[in-house]
């Protein structure tokens, strides 16, 4: 269970997320892909914090290594915010276009 294990898992999750974002024809599936990507990032943060960041020593010689964990908490918060806004946008798009297929929503087409 070295750092590299976690990194491999995380990069697989990342690639799968990218794959979902690129190929799925449903906006909610894309959102799921994005969630996968965010999870892979968080996993990276926590893993690096566990293995790489220097130790913070407190009286009583307990060792804490978790600056990365706090970043991951912020990441989760961000994911929640992002999901809320994303779904709101999807709802608005759905009302406007009657569909949430990303290839049908192309008002920006030049």
């Amino acid at each position: 269970m070295s750092l590299q294990h976690y990194l491999v898992i995380s990069s697989i999750l990342f690639s799968l997320g990218i794959f979902a974002v690129l190929t799925r024809k449903n906006a909610i599936s894309i959102l799921m892909g994005i969630e996968l990507i965010l999870n892979s990032c968080n996993l990276n943060f926590v893993a690096f914090s566990r293995f790489v960041t220097p130790a913070e020593t407190i009286v009583g010689s307990e060792v804490f290594r978790f600056d990365g964990q706090i970043i991951a908490i912020f990441g989760i918060v961000l994911a929640a915010a992002e999901a809320a806004v994303f779904l709101a946008i999807i709802l608005a798009i759905y009302r406007e276009f009657g569909s949430i297929r990303p290839d049908e929503v192309d008002t920006l087409k030049g």
Binding site: I18, V21, L22, P102, V105, D106, L108, K109, G110
Partner: protein, 737 residues
């Protein structure tokens, strides 16, 4: 004492106007604006009279820094000498009387308060012009009176003729003003100041003495002539005189105040003020312009039928006289004539106003029955008589008048006095003395210098004097004598109310020489030095200094005689005696000649228009070309066409379409040339070339954008493909190479 007095003189009328303006913003009127303005003027008049005692004190009682730019400073201040005081009294006196007259004349006008407010503003501006001690201040007042003239000529702006006339007046005078401004710039560039005399020896009058040499003289002559350009515009001298007859579209009190007595005389005042900087060349130019104006305007006046236009041309002619006087060096004579003329010409205008009012009230009454909503100043189109494109309102057409002396005895008597005065009837009328002074001064200069120019000028002046007598009596005979030509109008005519007649009587009293004497017998009233005018052989002696020495009781108002001559002549008494003798002789000759000429003019007028011994129409037919010459305002058209044809040959056909003369339309003409051709071309250039280039650039960008935009599919996943594919590629490339 001096500064507070002058301040009151300036501030009283300004306050009256300010009240009107401030209330106007709140959309209200002060109900008794007329009394307020009149009162303000009377206060100013009182202060002006008090100032007579102060003339001998410091000429620049107040100088304040107006603009300080570090190295360059402009100051403003008061300049108080005898000329200032005379002008102050003339302006405040005539203005007060016109105010009083207007209370009757303008009664019932829908914009009655505004009229008085404008009169107050005008009075302020004119007084400011008069008391300024520097060219910038004079220029400020100068333009402000122009503005007031604009506002008052266009007072009845519903009439298109009035709207045109006010615009023409402003623009024509502005052409002259620009010349004046260039002259000021030249003086400023040379001297670094615009103060005339600031008490510290650095005013223009002091600095100008330091100039020497031919180059400086040419330069100074040009500057002097350019400054004179302002006077040409404002005093309606040839060739910028055409606005003044048109300005008669304004209410008659305005014509009396602005276009006869004060504003147009400001040009004369300016030239008199700038007397010390005049060189022989610029003096001669001024004299010739004045002489030509006097003659030309007088001859045009002979054939006019509009009573106000006769007076307008007469004014132009008399202003030319004054210019001629000052140009010929007769400084005091010019200013003396300015004063006397102000009174009798104001009187003539107010008298004509009284006559017009008499008809006018009838007219208004007539119209009221049918169109109660019409203002009193709208005229019935059918009854308009056409005079060279301009329409003569029936109540101003002398052919509708006649026999009014019984209907309006007071108006008749006062106008007769003024006419006698302007015609130069000897001894008891002020006009005779002032005119004679001019004639004598010019002839004296001619004899003294043996100058052909001045002999010619004298001839012009003499001829103009005769013609003046002729047409003025023509006016009197046509208006007040003979049988009524238009019985209906005659029946309705009546004497004007007292509020209008009293000013007439006062002015009539002022047309007698005794009154003028009060100001012109001061010892200190003498011409300033002209450092750059030197007589060909003699030391320079001002022609004025000899006037009082004539035999016929001149000492009544003569500038103290031999004493002044000696002062001017300095130590070189031998020459002074020579000059003295010559001027003495000249004045005697001039007086005899002027009496003869005036008598001849009156006699002819009497024969033509009263006894009808000769028929004016018959003479007109016999001398058709001459008559046409006068009727078409001296064929100035042809003259101007001839000068400008080289510049605008292709434009001349367009001018022919308007059978108007170029001189009448010089402002309109220049405006049209620029509008039709130059502006059109510039507009074309602007739209096509300059703007076109900009649009081309934009079009190219637009077209390129049209191609490129196809890339934008709008599908978000496509973008992601490209982005991610790009990232992979970039990383691969970097790893491979």
């Amino acid at each position: 004492m001096v500064v507070p007095l002058i301040s009151i003189i300036l501030l009283a009328p300004l306050a009256a106007f300010t009240l009107f303006a401030v209330l106007g913003l709140a959309k209200r009127n002060f109900p008794r604006q007329d009394y307020l303005s009149t009162f303000a003027m009377l206060v100013a008049l009182g202060c002006s009279l008090l100032l007579i005692q102060e003339v001998t004190s410091d000429p620049t009682p107040l100088t304040v820094e107006w603009l300080s730019l570090g190295s360059v400073n402009f100051s403003m201040g008061f300049y108080l000498d005898s000329v200032t005081v005379i002008m102050l009294i003339v302006v405040t006196l005539v203005s007060s009387l016109v105010h009083i007259f207007s209370i009757g004349y303008m009664h019932g006008d829908p914009r009655y308060p505004r009229f008085f407010a404008f009169l107050s503003l005008f009075s302020f501006s004119m007084l400011f012009l008069v008391v300024s001690d520097n060219l910038l201040g004079i220029y400020i007042g100068w333009e402000l009176v122009g503005l007031c003239s604009y506002l008052l000529i266009g007072f009845w702006f519903e009439k298109d003729t009035a709207a045109n006339a006010c615009k023409k007046a402003f623009l024509t005078t502005r052409v002259g003003d620009v010349g004046m401004f260039i002259g000021m710039m030249m003086l400023f560039a040379k001297f670094g100041t615009l103060s005339l005399h600031d008490g510290t020896e650095s005013g223009i009058f002091t600095l100008v003495e330091g100039l020497s040499g031919t180059g400086d003289m040419v330069w100074l002559s040009v500057a002097g002539i350019l400054i004179f350009c302002g006077a040409v515009g404002k005093s309606a001298q040839v060739p910028l005189h055409t606005w003044l007859p048109d300005a008669m579209e304004g209410p008659t009190p305005v014509s009396a105040l602005i276009h006869a007595a004060t504003m147009v005389a400001a040009g004369v005042y300016l030239v008199a003020r700038m007397f010390p900087i005049l060189t022989p060349t610029s003096s001669l130019v001024i004299a010739y312009v004045g002489g030509i104006t006097a003659l030309v305007a007088a001859t045009i006046a002979i054939v006019r039928f509009d009573i106000k236009r006769v007076l307008a041309y007469s004014t132009i002619s008399q202003l030319g006289y004054m210019m001629l006087a000052i140009g010929a060096g007769s400084y005091v004579a010019g200013l003396f004539h300015l004063t006397t003329h102000a009174f009798f010409k104001a009187l003539l205008f107010l008298g004509s106003g009284s006559v017009i009012h008499a008809f006018h009230a009838m007219h208004a009454h007539h119209d009221d029955a049918e169109h109660p909503e019409d203002t009193a100043h709208e005229h019935d189109d059918n009854s308009l008589v056409h005079e060279h494109g301009a329409e003569i309102p029936p109540d101003q057409d002398m052919r509708n008048m006649g026999g009014l002396r019984h209907k309006m005895p007071l108006t008749f008597i006062t106008m007769l006095i003024a006419t006698l005065s302007i015609s130069g009837v000897p001894f008891v009328f002020s006009g005779f003395w002032s005119k004679d002074k001019i004639l004598g001064g010019v002839l004296g200069r001619a004899m003294e210098w043996s100058s052909v120019h001045h002999y010619i000028l004298f001839g012009m002046a003499l001829l103009a004097a005769g013609i003046t007598a002729f047409y003025m009596f023509r006016l009197i005979f046509m208006t007040f004598f003979g049988e009524p030509r238009n019985q209906e109008m005659h029946d309705m005519a009546h004497e004007s109310p007292w509020v209008m007649v009293v000013p007439l009587i006062v002015l009539a009293a002022l047309s007698f020489p005794v009154v003028n004497t009060i100001w012109f017998n001061k010892d200190n009233f003498k011409p300033p030095k002209q450092p750059h005018i030197h007589a060909p052989q003699h030391a320079y002696v001002s022609p004025d200094s000899k006037i009082g020495d004539a035999n016929f009781g001149f000492s009544l108002f003569g500038v103290s005689t031999a004493q002044a001559a000696e002062e001017d002549a300095g130590p070189d008494t031998a020459h002074a005696d020579d000059a003295h003798h010559i001027h003495h002789l000249a004045h005697n000759i001039a007086m005899v000649l002027s009496i003869c000429v005036a008598g001849l003019g009156i006699l002819l007028s009497w024969l033509f228009y009263h006894r009808r011994r000769f028929s004016a129409e018959g003479v007109a037919t016999t001398f058709r070309p001459v008559y046409n010459l006068f009727w078409n305002k001296y064929y100035f058209d042809e003259f101007y066409d001839g000068v400008l044809v080289a510049l605008t040959v292709w434009k001349s056909r367009l001018f022919a379409k308007f059978d108007l003369s170029f001189i009448d339309g010089i402002v309109n003409g220049v405006g049209k040339v620029t509008r039709d051709v130059l502006s059109a071309f510039i507009g074309f250039f602007d739209n096509r070339v300059v703007d076109g280039f900009v649009n081309r650039v934009a079009e190219v960008t637009w077209a390129a954008g049209g191609r490129i935009r196809k890339i934008q599919t709008g599908a978000i996943q496509t973008y992601l493909f490209v982005v991610l594919g790009g990232i992979v590629l970039i990383i691969l490339i970097f790893r491979l190479f």
